[in-house]
């Protein structure tokens, strides 16, 4: 089975190539067969491999496909390495990816560029798989940039709208900034280790660096730069909300479930380096905490259904970063998996709603959909519950609770991080249920044209189940103490010990989290169902309005970057459009012409002045003879 490892990324690539080459000529049914089928087979292979992996429990499977190149000892290969961490990721990618592909065949059925869409999607899945399977950082970088490309292409899928194109460019450019930092990190790593092979680096790093070494810090920070860019974390988060310009399945797959968590993967993958640089690791946590708050508050104020989800994604990835930062590696990955389930679910539901409402995305124009779209309502409710971490029944509760717990009780945890996480959880459940109430309750404002078909509802239901039961593979100590997941990751990611003094009171904090979560639901209920006038009153308060606008604009980051970087750059570039250096050469030419005109006037055709020329020459020569 492990020899088929290469098939996992290769199949989607093959699909993409087929779709590019023959996309124009094949019927849609065949196109969707290629598009979905390639990912489906890939998922199948993954699952089979997963079974084998679980059965054999090896440290890793590895397969070198070919040596990419070899220059003076720099020998990266196209080689795949699968261990528990990658296993989790490829499972999510192929399986959730498959579901979303399936969903997309219905969602995109009316699109003219059907083939282009699936080609890009397949290409994305392939690149993402390469990213997580790569055994060296250069190959990882290939996947890393490849998913960026696909993200770009899919955000700008509806290219005729200029705004979509700009959103796509924004996404690509901002993530590229992070990538650049990462690339520099790779140079540094190569200089220090002479290789970019991940396993070699991880095993050599402790010998090369003592804990807290400057080199480790530098590398960790640079890698963090890449992670922050890709995962939409502070300060490079601004692209993700705009990325919602793409079709909803894209948002679900790329901008919620998989690509944006690449940063999480990278940090988890390079955990040794981060552990050697505690400062960097702390920064990861701080970034996560800050992002989850900022994005959460922004999500509170959005009206666009997908934008709320986008901010929520940023916020949830903030949790993952927080987990990684405090050293709760497996908790972060666990949350990644659960988040992939419920966020994909939410997006797909949103997609179904949007499709049903003629591409209406504004929640203010929705409402009352509970009756007209029951399946969507229930699945959405499950997803929302999981996002809001409703206690006990949802998977989100278990994963998030673990993070909150380690943020406080982990080795690197502290009260501030915990408080931020808790506040974030509160806000999360407010905006989640604001969304639910605005969309499904109240009077219907837009007519539902075509209810979702089977191809749409099946993925929803499957994902909803996963969002409910996914959490039960990892239960807290005082709650059955099931540690299947972290045990699986044990060989790859270091385990975390909770501080003993707090461990006894763990139930207290779980209770607190549950209360906060439910409290959030209640607040949303209060404002949007029970007494909407409260909201009106709030909206008359100047401070609140300003705050609302500030959050709505994503804490002004867009405006800040616009004024700080974009505008000056465009201004400078346009100022220098004619190339200032060129004018130097033009000036030279002008000077020569000037001399020409001057000298030409001496050639005035008058004989006497020519004689004069000779006399001047004579004087010159005699003077030189005399005085020199």
């Amino acid at each position: 089975m492990e020899n088929l490892l290469w098939l996992i990324p290769a199949l989607p690539f093959l699909g993409a190539i087929l779709l590019v080459l023959f996309g124009g000529r094949l019927p849609k049914s065949l196109l969707s067969l290629i598009g979905v089928g390639s990912v489906g087979v890939s998922a199948l292979v993954t699952i089979l491999l997963g079974f084998e992996f679980l059965a054999e429990r090896p440290l890793y499977y590895q397969q070198e496909v070919w040596q990419w190149f070899s220059v003076a000892g720099f020998t990266p290969s196209v080689a795949f390495h699968v261990d528990a961490l990658s296993m989790v990721f490829i499972f999510v990618i192929t399986f959730v990816g498959f579901l979303i592909h399936l969903y997309a065949t219905a969602y995109m059925a009316d699109e003219a560029d059907f083939a282009r869409f699936f080609a890009c999607m397949n290409l994305f899945v392939g690149s993402m798989l390469v990213l997580v399977l790569a055994d060296n950082l250069l190959l990882l970088y290939l996947g890393w940039e490849g998913v960026g490309l696909c993200s770009y292409l899919l955000i700008g899928f509806w290219y005729k709208e200029p705004a979509n194109g700009y959103a796509a460019r924004k996404a690509f450019i901002i993530t590229r900034i992070g990538d650049t930092a990462m690339a520099i990190g790779l140079f540094l790593l190569f200089q220090l280790f002479g290789t970019l092979n991940i396993q070699t680096i991880l095993s050599d790093a402790p010998q090369v660096w003592p804990v807290g070494a400057e080199g480790a810090l530098l590398v960790a920070l640079l890698l963090l730069g890449g992670a922050v860019g890709k995962s939409g974390q502070l300060p490079l988060q601004t692209w993700l909300p705009d990325a919602m310009a793409g079709p909803t399945p894209v948002s679900a797959l790329i901008h919620a479930a998989t690509m944006v968590t690449a940063g999480v993967y990278l940090i988890a993958r390079m955990n040794v380096v981060f552990e050697l640089a505690p400062l960097a690791q702390l920064l990861v946590a701080v970034v996560g905490a800050a992002t989850l708050l900022i994005a959460g508050f922004s999500a509170l104020t959005q009206y666009d259904l997908k934008r709320v989800l986008a901010y929520s994604t940023i916020s949830q990835i903030g949790y993952m970063f927080l987990a990684l930062g405090v050293g709760a590696w497996s908790a972060g990955i666990f949350h990644f998996m659960i988040h992939a389930f419920f966020k994909a679910l939410l997006f797909l539901c949103a997609g179904a709603i949007i499709l049903a409402l003629h591409h209406e995305q504004d929640m203010r124009h929705m409402g009352g959909l509970r009756k007209s779209m029951p399946v969507v309502f229930w699945t959405f409710l499950i997803g929302a519950g999981s996002l809001a971490a409703l206690p006990l029944i949802t998977a989100g509760f278990y994963s998030k609770d673990q993070i909150l717990w380690y943020a406080l009780a982990g080795e690197n945890g502290n009260v501030w991080l915990y408080a931020a996480g808790l506040a974030g959880a509160f806000v999360t459940s407010i905006y989640t249920f604001r969304m639910v109430f605005l969309t499904f309750y109240g009077p219907a404002k837009t007519h539902v044209s075509h209810p979702p078909g089977k191809l749409i509802t099946i993925p929803l239901i499957l994902l909803a189940i996963l969002s409910l039961v996914g959490g039960f593979i990892e239960l807290p100590h005082n709650f059955g103490h099931l540690v299947l997941f972290s045990e699986l990751l044990q060989p790859v990611l270091p385990a975390i010990e909770a501080s003993a003094s707090l461990a006894a009171n763990e139930w207290l904090f779980q209770l607190l989290a549950a209360v906060v979560s439910l409290g959030g639901v209640f607040v949303a209920y209060l404002f949007y169902i029970k007494s909407p006038y409260l909201l009106h009153r709030l909206m008359h308060n100047g401070l609140a309005v300003r705050l609302q606008q500030f959050w709505f604009a994503g804490w002004g980051f867009d405006a800040l970057y616009d004024n700080l970087f974009v505008r000056p750059y465009v201004f400078l570039a346009n100022l220098n459009k004619r190339d200032i250096i060129d004018s130097f050469y033009t000036g030279l030419a002008r000077t020569a012409e000037g001399f020409h005109v001057m000298l030409s006037q001496s050639q005035n055709g008058v004989l006497r002045s020519y004689v004069m020329g000779i006399v001047v020459g004579a004087i010159m020569i005699l003077t030189i003879s005399l005085f020199l």
Binding site: G605, V606, L607, R608
Partner: protein, 102 residues
């Protein structure tokens, strides 16, 4: 005659040369220019004779004869050309002959 006047004679040649030169510069009439050049050539011939005298050699005088020949040939061609120009341009003003410039 002493050597001092040898220098004086050379100086005389120089002065005549310069006078011819001034004349070329200030005259617009082409004939005058030609005459002035003759003065200069004559001055050069005088210089040769002075030099020949100084070294008691006939070579200076021979050069003078050559110069004389050359002056004659030049004047003849020059005058023929001047006639031609007068027919073409109806003037002897050298400044007027400036169709070509730049």
């Amino acid at each position: 005659m002493s050597t001092a006047s040898m220098e004086a004679a050379l100086l005389l040649a120089g002065i005549l040369f310069m006078l011819g030169l001034i004349s070329v510069l200030i005259r617009r009439n082409i004939i005058f220019m030609l005459i002035s050049v003759e003065i200069m050539l004559n001055a050069a011939g005088l210089a040769f004779i002075v030099a020949g005298t100084r070294w008691v050699q006939p070579d200076g005088q021979i050069m003078f004869i050559f110069i004389l020949t050359m002056a004659a040939a030049e004047v003849s061609v020059g005058l023929a050309l001047i006639l031609q120009i007068y027919h073409q341009l109806k003037t002897l003003n050298s400044d007027a002959a400036n169709i070509m410039k730049g």
